[in-house]
Symmetry: C2
Subunit: 114 residues, 2 copies
Amino acid sequence: MKFESERFVLGDVAEKEDVGGGVVRQIMGHNDDLMLVRVRFAEGAIGYTHAHPHSQVAYVESGVFDFTVGEETKTLKTGDCAYVPPDVEHGAVCKESGVLLDIFSPVREDFLKD
Amino acid sequence: MKFESERFVLGDVAEKEDVGGGVVRQIMGHNDDLMLVRVRFAEGAIGYTHAHPHSQVAYVESGVFDFTVGEETKTLKTGDCAYVPPDVEHGAVCKESGVLLDIFSPVREDFLKD
């Protein structure tokens, strides 16, 4: 493995990166094949539409999000999940503040610092 | 892709499979490369020690779990994460009822029905 996190990554300890616009990101467990990212959104914050070759699932831990995959948008709440196939455009708008878990395969190397 | 879920998998709609011993499992978003499984544990329920070639991260959505990876055990609560490298033994004991998210790469074909 080129990339590998600690075996336990605690939410109170993992670095919180303010990426602007009311979005704060924590890199949680990962290796070359898999990465879990915890993302806190303020109400109104936007995950802008983009695409990447990674497979992704997003899971709503808390809050409410309008989540778009391709041409389809759904309002998601705690316990709901979106699946984003590789290279499909997707984005989210936070309707009530909360936390999205973004999970990628393979690892998002661009999220990792040297 | 051989396996691919719907693009939106809602927690109120996804099938709940009672796998016994106080453990109820929902298969959420997935494709060949990635699978998110939501697992509800009653207090005292056990995820027995096992290993598999898949990479895994586990995330505590709610509750408290004693989670073991290899030789190390930690008490995890909401917002905490464990990373399980391929072929490393791991297991969990639920100390306060809650939900673990188990995420695998590649997909757990053994969890999918024909």
